[in-house]
């Protein structure tokens, strides 16, 4: 191919196994000096693993790494730093209670005994100036926005003399404007001779910013291509391994009465900042309302406010005409609201309890499971057996601890429990995230069946394709506001993208 010395990074035959999975299977990966190289792939394709190997966080089981043409052994993050590799993780590695400067010099040997933060702060300010990264070196991390934190991560890498910058899903938490700013920064860095690798699963940004693209699928390299010589369709095909169907066949919806009515809703996030501002929407029986938006724009808070897990500061929520604003989760549930939380293990299931016990999480107070104050063991196991069979949950038995089940089966377990309560309204948040293709389809089919049976569904998703294929109408959430609601038949991806970026649709006059 080419002279190896022109490669900033060359990884050959990298294999990394985790218990039960081969995350990387003899991957060859090369990045040229001074290019922006995108690593594209679906969730679980092995992108992050490969980069963590490069950053010294994982040790490969097999394979060789060359940095700048020299064989390198990266046994620890420190080795990677010494080789000039700086990795910016998807979840920022910043100590919240420390200042920017403290975070940037963390782990460095230079000042040896005395922290001279003022000197460091001056240096940081200079460096920031050079790359147009505006930060206040004396600020504490928790005071900063996500975009600012990312800039600090970049500065942290640069301060350590990184010439190769690896970024894991850098735009996942950014608004399109911030993302654009980031790409400008990346370009100016490349112009200064740095090399950038960034991990993404978004075709658009990959096409617009990368010089070359490597596509990973199921732990293997699918192809490495020039961005100028490929198309989104090609990339999408390589990424998922089949033609992407943009509209799945589904029946026409037959919307009935309004099941959920939200009027002028406001709520705070965990940090006490306003997360929802004046959100109004309705969901009808037999209809799926999709909610699109970049993660962190109030989706989680919206779902939690509806099901009663988050206090509402303003506005009204009505289910089937009855007000449920600031009611307890129990009361909301009793009005026929089911909830599929984004965080399956964290809040949807009790993984240390058995499958049967998880299946009664929402009906343990009702007969026949509960008999006054006592639990009926036979009823519990009968209930569990029935649901496991009906929803095709793969489990060794109903007494098995839930933690032993796979991700797809965990999700089926939740769906089984929620759908079996015959809800009028189902709030489902990222229901297919992290699932394989088979499980994804099963989950989507169950949701559509629920809709056809007359249930209303609020589907919150980051995946525009999923929203377009599943929803009847799509609302776009941006910074806690509804930017617009469109019929999904008439929706164009570009228009949705604009709204997700905070631009109101033209009918409303625009901004």
């Amino acid at each position: 191919m080419e002279d190896t010395s022109s490669f900033a990074i060359r990884m050959e035959g990298i294999t990394k196994r985790f218990p039960g999975v081969v995350a990387n299977n003899s991957i060859d990966f090369a990045v040229r000096q001074g290019e922006i190289h995108a690593l594209l792939g679906e969730n679980g394709a092995g992108k992050t693993t490969l980069m963590k190997i490069l950053a010294g966080l994982y040790q490969p089981d097999e394979g060789q790494i060359w940095i700048d043409g020299r064989a390198a052994s990266v046994h620890s993050p420190r080795d990677a730093i010494d080789l000039g590799i700086g990795m910016i993780h998807q979840h920022f590695m910043l100590v919240e209670s420390h200042t920017v400067a403290e975070n940037i010099i963390l782990g460095l040997d230079v000042p040896r005994f005395v922290l001279n933060l003022e000197k460091v702060e001056r240096e940081i300010a200079k460096l920031a100036d050079q790359y147009h990264l505006l930060v206040d070196p004396g600020a504490r991390i928790w005071q900063l926005s996500v975009g600012e934190q990312q800039r600090i991560e970049i500065l942290k890498a640069l301060y350590r003399g990184a010439r190769i910058l690896v970024m894991d899903e850098p735009t996942a938490v950014l608004t399109p404007q911030e993302a654009k700013q980031l790409f400008n920064t990346l370009r100016s860095m490349v112009a200064e001779g740095h090399t950038v690798v960034f991990i993404s699963h978004k075709l658009g940004e990959v096409m617009s910013v990368a010089d070359r693209i490597t596509v990973l699928r199921r732990g293997e390299v699918e192809a490495t291509v020039q961005a100028s010589e490929t198309s989104r369709q090609d990339l999408a095909r390589m990424m998922v391994g089949r033609e992407v169907l943009f509209r799945v066949g589904k029946r026409e919806s037959e919307p009935g009465d309004v099941v959920l009515e939200i009027d002028g809703l406001g709520a705070l996030n965990d940090k006490g900042l306003e997360a929802l501002r004046d959100v109004s929407l309705t969901v009808r029986h037999g209809e799926i309302l999709g909610v699109a938006g970049v993660a962190g724009n109030g989706q989680r808070e919206l779902a939690e406010a509806i099901v009663g897990l988050r206090p509402v500061t303003r506005g009204q929520i009505r289910v089937d005409g009855e007000g449920v604003t600031n009611r307890t989760p129990r009361e909301v549930m009793d009005r026929g609201v089911a909830y599929i939380p984004a965080d399956r293990i964290g809040s949807g299931l009790v993984v240390n309890l058995s499958v049967a016990e998880n299946l009664i999480l929402k009906c343990y107070r009702d007969p026949p499971i509960c008999n006054w104050f006592f639990l009926d063991g036979d009823a519990i196991s009968g209930h569990a057996q029935e649901l496991v069979r009906a929803y095709d949950v793969m489990t060794p038995g109903i007494e098995t601890r839930t933690r032993l089940l796979s991700g797809g089966n965990l999700q089926k377990l939740i769906l089984a429990r929620e759908i079996s309560s015959k809800p009028a309204l189902m709030v489902s948040v990222y229901p297919t995230r992290g699932l394989d293709v088979g499980a994804t389809e099963a989950v989507r089919r169950l949701l559509l069946e629920q809709r056809d049976a007359g249930g209303g569904i609020l589907l919150i998703s980051e995946d525009l394709d999923e929203l377009l294929s599943m929803s009847d109408r799509i609302a776009v959430l941006y910074e806690g506001r509804i930017m617009g609601i469109v019929e999904s038949q008439e929706a164009r991806v570009e228009a949705l993208g604009l709204m997700m970026a905070g631009t109101a649709p033209e009918e409303d006059g625009g901004e």
């Binding site: 966080l57 993050p77 920022f92 590695m93 910043l94 100590v95 460095l108 000042p111 922290l115």
Partner: protein, 424 residues
């Protein structure tokens, strides 16, 4: 959980919080209490005389007017809070209140008699010594991410080793070193259990506490007493020439036991190392966000081992205070729960050395006051019963509960403490 704590410290919501109401009510109560003490607990014309051993009478106050004045000041502060809004001047109100209340109590107690002020302060400092040392042990462990409820056990081991080795080598200093080393060794056990074996850190700490009570008593009965090694004596106070001759300040600061000097030196050193060196920065990062520390090449677990063991070494010195500093022999469970008071001081001081020292002084003062009260036997006005010393001894524990419950100000522990760190 941590998120919740942070929320409170970040967003000081305007308006009335429960905490503000509580503090104001507390102020009104304290003010009222002082007035009652003044009205019913003292006679008109009583003098509270504060003395010094060398200088004689320092000053004397007419107790009744003084108490009235201070009670009014307290009520005035409460009124000001009500009038000016709660957000104003929050930080020093609590401190001012504590000082006022303590001083008023002293005036009332010594009304009609005399009180040796420097003696009282020195007793406070002495009582604060093991508490501060223990708190620094806890601080080093917890700042690096390891919960340590075994301060008590480490101190008890230290107290024991101090006696044993001081008697074996016939040298108190050897005892002090041995005390420190055994404290460090026990901390090492805690570290290995909680870092290598990922035992729940509270369980691991409990083990050390149980082991300390059992093992020291066992060894004392079976080895030390039969071998006649149980009475090595106590340290004499070391008098620093010249400085100790400064009036008032001299005897307080420069005529102390070695453990007190060690405590004061360590206080400065620990504070400096933890907050003003790269090492301290890394150590704190290990407690706040170990993964972040790891990604920049900090060996998290090694850092934790080092911090915990150093903490144990310090706790051992604190233990030696009980045996070699106070009693001169080993008694069963002689740390009497002071290790937990040290833990309380650490929390009270918000995981800061000087904060912990201030808390330790407060608790030490309660202790000194209690000793004094057993001599003076002041009788509470109106109900006419003497104050049981046990109630003053409870004060540190009650105050700690109030503080962790967040009723008067929030403390924030390191975010990731208690969680074993696993490399991916």
């Amino acid at each position: 959980m941590a998120v919740q704590a942070r929320t409170v410290s970040v967003s000081e919501a305007p308006g009335l919080s429960r905490r503000d109401i509580f503090v104001t009510i507390l102020m009104l109560l304290v003010g009222g209490g002082i007035l009652i003490l003044g009205a019913f607990g003292t006679q008109a014309g009583d003098q509270a005389t504060f003395t010094d051993q060398k200088l004689g009478t320092l000053f004397s106050l007419s107790s009744q007017p003084t108490l009235y004045l201070m009670g009014m000041a307290c009520l005035f502060m409460a009124g000001m809070r009500l009038y000016r809004g709660f957000a104003a001047l929050r930080a020093w109100f609590g401190l001012a209140l504590a000082v006022l209340a303590a001083f008023a109590f002293l005036v009332w107690m010594s009304s009609g008699t005399t009180l040796n002020v420097p003696g009282m302060i020195q007793a406070t400092l002495t009582a604060a010594t093991p508490l501060t040392l223990g708190a620094m042990c806890g601080l080093l462990c917890e700042r690096s991410g390891i919960i340590n409820i075994a301060i008590e056990g480490m101190m008890l081991f230290g107290a024991f080793a101090g006696v044993a080795f001081a008697a074996i080598f016939d040298n108190l200093w050897m005892g002090l070193i041995a005390a420190s080393l055994l404290g460090g060794a026990m901390a090492g056990v805690h570290a290995v259990l909680s870092i290598k074996y990922k035992v729940d850190q509270i369980i691991s700490g409990t083990v050390i506490n149980i082991l300390a009570v059992g093992a020291t008593r066992f060894l004392n009965l079976r080895v030390l007493e039969p071998a006649g090694l149980s009475t090595p004596g106590t340290f004499d106070a070391i008098r620093i020439p010249v400085l100790a001759d400064i009036p008032i300040v001299g005897p307080i600061l420069f005529e102390n036991q070695p453990t007190t000097y060690i405590m004061l030196i360590l206080l400065v050193v620990v504070n400096y190392v933890v907050f003003f060196t790269p090492w301290g920065l890394r150590m704190r990062a290990c407690g706040e966000h170990p993964r972040a520390a790891d990604t920049v090449g900090v060996a998290v677990n090694r850092m934790r081992y080092i911090s915990v063991v150093i903490g144990g070494l310090i706790a051992g010195v604190g233990g030696a205070y009980f045996s070699l500093g106070q009693v001169g022999t080993f008694e069963d469970g002689m740390t009497r729960g002071q290790g937990f008071v040290a833990l309380a001081a650490m929390i009270f001081g918000n995981w800061n050395p000087f904060g912990a020292f201030a808390a330790a002084l407060l608790f030490g003062f309660a202790n000194a006051l209690q000793v004094k009260m057993q001599i003076l036997q002041p009788v509470l006005p109106i109900i006419n019963v003497p104050i049981p010393p046990e109630f003053l001894q409870m004060a540190p524990y009650i105050l700690t509960i109030i503080v962790v419950a967040g009723v008067v100000g929030r403390v924030r522990p390191p975010a990731q403490e208690g969680k074993p760190y696993e490399k991916q």
